[in-house]
Amino acid sequence: MAASAAVTANYVLKPPPYPLDALEPHMSKQTLEFHWGKHHRAYVDNLKKQVLGSELEGKALEHIIQNTYNNGDLLPPFNNAAQAWNHEFFWESMKPGGGGKPSGELLALLERDFTSYEKFYDEFNAAAATQFGAGWAWLAYADNKLKVVKTPNAVNPLVLGSFPLLTIDVWEHAYYLDFQNRRPDYIKTFMNNLVSWEAVSSRLEAAKAASA
């Protein structure tokens, strides 16, 4: 499945496209310092060590993800590779002053495929809230349709045959410092205050072009 161009092919810990305190008060600087500075960094560092000297060394991140998913019977590099990809995608799914309802073509498509933005909101919320344990919720694009998907642990829609457009990390480390057990509050805050619809739109354009 063709790549989402925004995610880098080499194993670099790319900083979020905003300062670590820029998402406050919705997502604290402390959370970004740990989540990006420790968790995401560890996935990148561990991936480098893991593929060193193997046939996967130097291969694009998405190549590693697709080749180690193994139909769900995950090969060892999958977790680090997918989590490195997922986290970069996550930072770029958010922006300061984000959230709320999109406009233009994106809104039209959400209304076409979910009946209304509110129905999409509820479905995305429910997916994020009911992904049991660690995982992610996604807006994805496949077969000319938008859909909501939830995945466990490190799995992402690339291995399920669709283009990721938006994600929220629902591993506890993503929200525990700011929200403790209150995952629903975290999800609402993400939807209302953080989503970068610009990022979603440009990913959608890339997905449409790749599907054409």
Partner: protein, 230 residues
């Protein structure tokens, strides 16, 4: 005591609620949050009082509430002969029932230092640990390594295979109880490695949590369970 945490009652298809708060209409037993036999702060500095309170009052309570709800829905579906709903409810029962089972064991697996927390196991269990793992240190090293390596959420266990009469170390994902790894497995010690079990105190450094939790492990309880099964 039992009343305060019982899930709200539902009226079943036109039938009236019974007067019993704990037994459902057809006698299904619902569950309540067990009290801890120690104060929230009693396990410090190994596990903070803040974590213990949220872990018990929020996470475990939510499992209990959701488990009770799922059981009521199950009861209704069973009575209606609604096979597909019965099957659909299985994951909610496994998640939430497993969460209740696992955490109920976990609170007993922990004890303040002044109540024996951290004291090495003696007697039969101590001997069995030495036989199977070389030493307590060997067991601790193995469990800590497996707990640290677990991807996502789950538990690391010391269990007794009561058929083979041997100790095993294993992990389970999410809230799967140990018995899902083998019908003859009895949990002796479980360590919660979900991030909620340690994040506020240890952040991303799960290995530090695993190093420190042994200081408050209640080997007396594990020995009791072991001796009962052997």
């Amino acid at each position: 005591m039992a009343i305060r945490s019982v899930a709200s009652r539902r009226t079943l298809a036109g039938l009236k609620e019974t007067s019993s708060r704990v037994l459902g209409l057809r006698g299904i037993q619902t569950f309540t949050l067990p009290d801890l036999p120690y104060d929230y702060s009693a396990l410090e500095p190994a596990i903070s009082g803040e974590i213990m309170q949220i872990h018990h009052q929020k996470h475990h309570q939510t499992y209990v509430t959701n488990y009770n709800n799922a059981l009521e829905q199950l009861d209704q579906a069973v009575n209606n002969g609604d096979a597909s709903t019965v099957v659909k409810l299985h994951s909610a029962i496994k998640f939430n029932g497993g969460g209740h089972v696992n955490h109920s064991i976990f609170w007993k697996n922990l004890a303040p230092v002044n109540q024996g927390g951290g004291e090495p196991p003696k007697g039969a269990l101590g001997g069995a640990i030495d036989t199977h793992f070389g030493s307590l240190e060997g067991l601790v090293k193995k469990m800590s390594a497996e707990g640290a390596a677990l991807q996502g959420s789950g538990w690391v266990w010391l269990g007794l295979d009561k058929e083979l009469k041997k100790l095993v170390v294993d992990t389970t994902a999410n809230q799967d109880p140990l018995v899902t790894k083998g019908g003859s497995l009895v949990p002796l010690v479980g360590i919660d490695v979900w991030e909620h079990a340690y994040y506020l105190q240890y952040k991303n450094v799960r290995p530090d949590y695993l190093k420190n939790v042994w200081k408050v492990i209640n080997w007396n309880y594990a020995s009791e369970v072991y001796e009962k099964e052997c």
